[in-house]
Each structure stands twice: as C-alpha cells, then as structure tokens.
Symmetry: C2
C-alpha cells in the first residue's frame, strides 16, 4: 500500500488547509447543530473544528484510501498487526476487543474466537472468586500494584466509577518505585482486610516486583501470611504464576498490550471487586458496543474514526503539535493520564510499518485536567497564548450522584455544562476588541464528546472510543500503534547505573559507564 | 526599552541555534559534572541541554540586555509590574515574595515592607488560631474549597508534605463545580470534626460559592452550625469577610496573584493545620531562601534565571513548543498541575507590556507526571516520536520516609535515581542501530534539578524556584506574567448560557445567544 503522504486526499487536504475556515466569522448555530454524529447516548459535536464539508469529504477519502475500516476489521479479527516488516519486532495479534467480545454478534475469525474464549474463562474464574470473597467477607480494601498500563487505565476507571462502588469497598494503587508511594498506601489500610493484586504480564517488571516485596514485608511484619492476601494477574507460566505464593492467578496474554488492557483481568479484578461482578460486565458491554460501532459503522457515521480524522487534520494540516483532553467531570480526573499513555505510547512513532522513517508528524502530546478547574489555570494560554491548542472536551448531560444544589436558580451540573459550551464557543469565535489585552484571536479548534451520564456502560464505551480513535490514527499514518521499543533504552541504562549502586554493597566491579558515573559523583 | 527580538544577543542565539551541539556525539562525563549550578542543597544539572559555553554566554547577555535581574529587584521591592501601558489593565504590585519576607535581610522598600507587615499580621493570627484549635481538639479534618490558584498550589504542597503531617490531621480539597466532586469529599469525612476553609479573593468566585453552599447545606442537614466550622480566606471587606458567617477570616490582597498565592494564607492555613505552625514557617523559610537567591545571585550562578534562559533557548531558538516537568517523587504528583497553571497562566500571552502583539513564541505547554510512572507511559513518544520534547526532571537524593527496602542489593530510592539519570542520558545521547525500530535519535534536551530531600523547607524553595523561573521568562520576553485577561471571555459566555438554563425556572426571557441555544437544543 502507499504511504500517508502519497494519498491523493493528502494533496487536497493540504490545499484546503491553506484556506481553513475562519471560525471568528463562520461559527453559526447551524454548524453546531448539524456537525454532529450520534451513537447510543453519545454525541460528537465538531462544529467548532476548522473544517468544512469539503474538508470532511477529503478526510473520509483519506480514511478510505488508507483502508482504515478494513484494518479495524483485521484487528478485531485477530490478524497480526503488531509488527514492523523485515526487522526484528513484536509479531502479534492485537485483541483487546476480544476481552469484551462476550455478548451479541461475536467475532467468528478463529484467532478472535479463541481469544474471547480465553477471556471468558478468566471472567468465569473472576466471577467465582468474587462470589467466594463475598461469602467469606474477608476483604474491604484492594491494593493494585502495577505500573503503566497495569495502573493508569484501571485507576482512571476506578476513580471514574467510584460513585457506583459497593458500600465499604475501596481500591488503592501503588505504581511508582518511589518507596514513599508504597508507604503511604500501605499505612492507610487495615492489612488484615486487604487484598493485594500484583499485575505484571512478564512477571518481571522491576517497579512492580520491588513494590510487591515491599508490601509482602509489611504483611509479614503484621504477622499476616501474604499467600492469603496476594493474587497475581500475569502471563500463564510467568514467574508470578505460582500457587505457592498467590491465593489466585488470573491470566493476560501478549495479544493485549498494556495500555489496551483495562478491560482484561488487569482492570477487571479491581473493578469487579469495587463494583461487583455485574458492574464490570456493564463496563465490558459498553466497550463492546463501541467496538461494534467502530467496526461496522460507515466512516461518515463512525464516531472514533471521525474523531481520528479531525485529529489528523489538526496535526498534519493545521500543524498543531498538542491536544488537550478536558473532561467536564471530576470523576474523570485521571482519564487524561490514561489517554496520555494510550495515545502517546501508541502513536509516538517515527517509522512506518515498513521500517522507514516517516516524513510527517505522528502522535501529538496529549495532556489535560478536568474542567472547570482548567479554566482557572491553563486556559489563559489556550485563549491568548501564541500557539493554538486543539481541545477535546468530554461532557455529560447528568451528574453521577442524584444530589445537586440549586444556587441562583441553576444546578451545579447546569453550571458545568454552561461552562463547557461557553468555552467551546469562546475558543472558536474569539472576541474583537480595541484593547489588545481583551482581544481573543479565536480559531482554537475544539470538539465535544457529549454522553448521557458517566456510569459503567458509558465508561466502557468511552474507553473503547479512545482506543479506536488512536488505532484509526495509527492505521491512517501506517505506523505500528501496538509496540513500544522506545521504552527499552532507558531501562537498559537504568540497569547499568543500578549496577554501580549495587557494587557499593557487593564489592563487585561494575561494567564501566562513565556517563552514569558522572551522575553518581554528583550525588555523593 | 527594546523588545526581545531587537536585542543583539537574540541575533547571536539564532546563529548558534542553526548549529546546536549534537549530544549524540557531544555528551561527556565532563559536561555532566561541570554544567552544574548549586545552591543550598539544590543542584541544577544541564549538561544534557543542547547548549555550549558560547550559547550560555549569549543567554546571559540576553538576561543582561533585558534587565532580568533588575526587574526581579523591582518586583520584590513592590513596583507596579502588573500592567499593560496605555490601556485598561490591572495596575498592581506583585508581592508574593513579601508573604515570606519574614526572616533575615528583609526588603526595605516601603511597598514591600508594608506588604510583609500585612503578611506578618495574618501569620500571627494563624498561629493563634492554630493554637486555639489545638487546645480545643475539635478538628481532625480540613476541607479547602477553592479553585485555580486557591486549589492547585496548596493541594500540590499538601500532597508533597503529607509525610510530615501531624498524626490524625488530614486535608481534602473541593474545587470543581461538578457536584460529584463535593459529594465525594463531604461523604468521606466526619463533619463534626471538620474545618472548612473557603478561599476566594473577591468573595464571588462562582464555583467556590456554589461549593460552599453545597457544603453548608450538608452541615445543616447534619444538625451542625456552619458558623462553628467555616473560615474564610478572602480580601478584606469582600462579601466573605463576615464574622456572622465565619469562625475566622484571613486576608489576601490584590498584589498576590492566585497562582502565586500558595505561601499566602491561601496555602498557609491548610499547611499550618496539617503540618503545625512550625511546618508552614519552614515552607516560608525555604521560599524566602530562594527569593533571596533569585534576587542577589549574579546571573551565572542564579538557578531560576539560568533555568529560565535554558527554557527560552528551547522555546525560541530550538522552537520546541512544550515542556514536560517530571518529578521522580510520587509525593509531587500534583506539582506539575500547579506548575502548569503557574507557567501557562503567567506566560501564555500574545501582547507585550506596551500592548503590541509579539512576533515570537511565549509560554509553552507545560505538562507532566511523576517518574518512573511516565516511563511506562508517554516516554515512548519522548524517545521516538517525531517532535523533541524538552524535559525538566526533579529528583531527590533521599526519600521522605526512612523506610526503604533492599531488593537485589539496591534500595528503591536508588532504583528511582538510576532511572532518572538513565533517562537523562538516553534522551540526550540516543542510540544508533541498524534496526530502525531500535534507533533512538537522541538530542532530546533535558535538565535535572536535584535536591536533598523533599521536606517543608525544600518544598518552599522548589515552589519559589519555579515562580521565579516563570517571572524571569516573562521579564525577558517583556510580557505581563501577572494578569489573566484570557479567562474572562469564557466566564462571560458561561453566564449567558446559564441565563438560558435559569429562564426555564424563572420564566424570564433570557438575552438571546443563538450559539449557546444551539448547544441547549442538542442537550434536550
């Protein structure tokens, strides 16, 4: 297939970008009402992006020319998409969708079917395990020890859905190798009633094993047997798949990448503990609904694909290097951190699937904080800084809790939505003024994903929406969104420096590493 | 005075940037050991920035030509720096440094002296108030209600210093107008033993007043009198300065901007409650030490000024639009969010102090998460993405808690530092490889601020280091880092939309706002 830059639509888009619509004049109520895609409670509103029908036509042509929907079908069917041709690389299927392909209209391709069967077995094990600990009433708290994908997605979802947690059930997370992190969490719970979930696919993640040892030592010190408290989420037959050390083991596989693993046992155990088994099933059901939508909906009605294309317009044609994702929902406080990993680790790549360096920009910097907080913080730069920042807003028609307060004739949720819509309009349309300090240039592109209410189903669908947005962008750019070779070099060098520290105790002679030694000289 | 682009040093720097040092060849142990500035337990290590002695000479010339140190002296002396000439603008002194100018070598300029005297009176009031609640033993928990600067800085510092909190003292924060946020916090404490601090300089911040009403309603419902639990941090004579409604009032002034207010009563009340009065005094002492350093140290030995210049090199000459700030300390989890506000709200400006649009880039996008977590997340893009991202690392020689664990002959803190140094080296020097997927281009500029241990003194100094880095950049760019006109437009439009919501209940006819109505049509 041809590369991204060689597609005819890219030439069209370049020409269109030279005369992108001026939203300070062009933003109308009709745009807001008609530039809208809907799907089961979700609305994607993009009248405040700098696009016209001609631009959208060219973007959908780009999706067609780069066979974005066909690659989504190949992914969900279990074809080997995680690879770089002709060089040593991961060589794997990409089947996070199989984790939730447990409902109607299941995939029939053998690889996908096998994977969803494996996921079904783990779900069944989880259902029994949760029923057992319910009967025994032993645990009130759960601590998840994991890092990266074993932490950010599950943590973001847990915080998002805490409002739906079973009474008296709490979850906590330890990720950082910083010993202060583990200390703080372990000191805040009653270990006798605490379940510890250790998550590492390889069973050898340095931070996670260190924190596990740290936690085990604390249990021993309290006279408690870790074997009665620790469970493993790991690869089958990994060093952690060891019934002599764990109360139970749940499995994960190399066809589910860490950052895509929130709906595997990596997220299911903690969410099942907090929400109950039916709660995690709802999360999976929501994700599956979005998987089916991404797979079956034509491009022009496809929410994650359309969002991916708008992102590519902003990145490659309007040349905007960052994206702020702003949920107007405090419960989504850590969702931007999850999306930061999901997007930047997937699409922060400089070679295409044939191993050639790309000559265009790939994944942007993703960052964000919840609104309205951000309005009192970095919005100054977004409105009046020298560089436009595209925004993706997330909003909800209703709050999670039914409790709200009427102050000055409106409810808090209405204030939240008023602010969300006001920002969308203000950023796009700007403001003329003879006072240069009150002039707003406008043309800050943004879009809103509006959903009904942040419940388990919606959270699952939202998670999958972003997974597919990211995957579609990778498909269109012809890069491998599923490996992460870029994290290796730092790991290797960290071990070399660690050897220097170690040598102080073992009296061994470490391999020379002058750059690392320079830092150690500064330390001492 | 002349503008940034007209300075002779800018021409030199442009020429030097065209041939910036290639760190894949040029990074040596000597660079790491010699490109180092030290100050009272802090080391700024910048051998991994793309600078040479010639570049540093030109940067220090730039500081000189733009009179950066003289402006710092003017700021700390209380001159009116928060203004734009010839147009309506804020017209204020900028005296957050006076909040901690309570120790040796105090400012003698009348404005600064007066401000530090006002701060001293509030500190004395706080000392008495804290002693009183200690004697009465009434409170275990404190909830701070505030948003933006009244939330991010105090929250970041509280989390940073939780390890030093008095036993049984906890703080919580409500910021978002999202009713789920207030619900979650209020449900998690024993209101009988809870002190509520409401923070708003004007006494009229919509989110804060709404959340205050929300909290008061909850106290009433529990049969508790809010008057016995609520205290105000506000401007003298603001609507909130009302002894009939508050147990106590502490004052703030218009010469301390929200994002610079963490060492005023905005942060001092909550930190004093958590750490005890001597703890907050240590924070102020640390901040003051950095204030004196920034004020008195020649440019070439001045840490925040040197950091500001390195940032300007990356932003204006290497043309890098974002900065990641990565503390290798879990306790600093919310410090990047505070710095995001501090930097982006201060320097996200498009006009200079004479009101003319600037023709160069000002404040970058600031974002970040603690290491090592980020290594398992967005570092892929930082190492192998298409755009270089400058990084500012923060590290500590020792952990906060004395408890650490030895696994495989090294301690967790050593693992943390090994990772920090390894990343610094890997990002700068990259890696050659015939496998394009294992090729790391390197030349990712980064620097490390290394301190001894994250204690109250160090946290105060770290806070002030970044305040002055930001202020120095604003001085050099000749922009007003102390106003925030860019947040006004969104507020105005939000009120217009709120009127539409309100009209549903009051049956009034709202002012027409067709763009807002378009969103309301989509909601219903």
């Amino acid at each position: 297939m041809s590369g991204f830059l060689d597609t005819p639509s890219v030439q069209k888009l370049k020409a269109l970008a030279a005369h992108a619509i001026d939203l300070t004049k062009g933003l109308t109520p009709e745009r807001i009402e008609t530039m809208r895609l809907s799907m089961a409670g979700f609305d994607l509103l993009y009248g405040t992006e700098r696009v016209t029908p001609e631009v959208m036509d060219a973007l959908y042509e780009l999706a067609d020319e780069t066979r974005a929907l066909k690659k989504m079908a190949a992914m969900q069917a279990g074809e080997i998409l995680n690879r770089i041709e002709k060089v040593e690389s991961e060589n794997r299927a990409v089947l996070h969708t199989a984790m939730r392909d447990q409902f109607e209209e299941r995939q029939s391709a053998p690889a996908a079917e096998e994977a969803s069967g494996m996921a079904a077995r783990e779900l069944k094990k989880l259902e029994h395990f949760l029923a057992k600990i319910d009967r025994e009433e032993r645990f009130t708290d759960l601590i998840q020890i994991g890092i990266g994908g074993s932490d950010l997605g599950p943590r973001a979802l847990y915080l998002a859905l805490q409002a739906f947690a079973r009474p008296g059930r709490r979850a906590h997370f330890i990720s950082n190798v910083d010993p202060d992190d583990a200390n703080a969490v372990l000191s805040g719970v009653d270990l006798k009633k605490t379940l510890v979930v250790v998550v590492s696919k390889s069973g050898s993640t340095l931070e996670t094993l260190t924190n596990e040892e740290f936690a085990r030592a604390r249990f021993h010190k309290m006279g408690l047997d870790p074997k009665e408290h620790f469970i493993a989420v790991t690869g089958e037959k990994s060093p952690m798949d060891d019934p002599s050390r764990y109360l139970a083991s749940f499995y994960m596989w190399d066809f589910v990448g860490g950052r895509y693993s929130a709906t595997s046992m990596v997220g299911a155990v903690v969410l099942g503990f907090a929400l109950g088994y039916p709660g995690i099933v709802e999360v999976l059901r929501g994700a599956h609904a979005m998987d089916r939508h991404a797979l079956t909906m034509p491009a022009r009605k496809n929410l994650p694909l359309t969002s991916a294309l708008l992102g590519i317009w902003n990145r490659n044609f309007l040349h905007l290097p960052t994206v702020a994702i702003i949920p107007y929902s405090q419960a989504l406080i850590r969702f931007p951190a999850h999306l930061q990993q999901l997007d930047m680790e997937s699409n922060g790549k400089r070679i295409d699937k044939q191993g050639h360096p790309v000559s265009f920009s790939t994944g942007p910097v993703i960052w964000g904080e919840p609104g309205t907080n951000g309005q009192h913080s970095f919005y100054q730069l977004i409105h009046q800084g020298t560089d436009p920042i595209p925004l993706e807003f997330i909003g909800f028609r209703k709050s999670q809790h039914p409790i709200d307060i009427e102050v000055q004739f409106t409810f808090s949720q209405e204030k939240l939505l008023s602010n969300l819509f006001a920002q969308s309009i203000a950023l796009a349309s700007g403001q003329a003024s003879s006072n240069p300090n009150k002039f707003f240039p406008g043309n800050r592109p943004n879009r809103i994903l509006l959903a009904d209410r942040l419940d388990p189903f919606t959270a699952g669908a939202l998670l999958a929406y972003y997974e597919h947005k990211v995957a579609f962008q990778g498909f269109i750019w012809n890069i491998n969104s599923f490996d992460q070779e870029g994290v290796q070099l730092g790991k290797v060098l960290a071990l070399k420096i660690l050897e220097q520290f170690k040598a102080k105790r073992t009296k061994e002679t470490p391999s020379p590493f002058p750059l690392g030694e320079a830092y150690l000289n500064i330390l001492s």
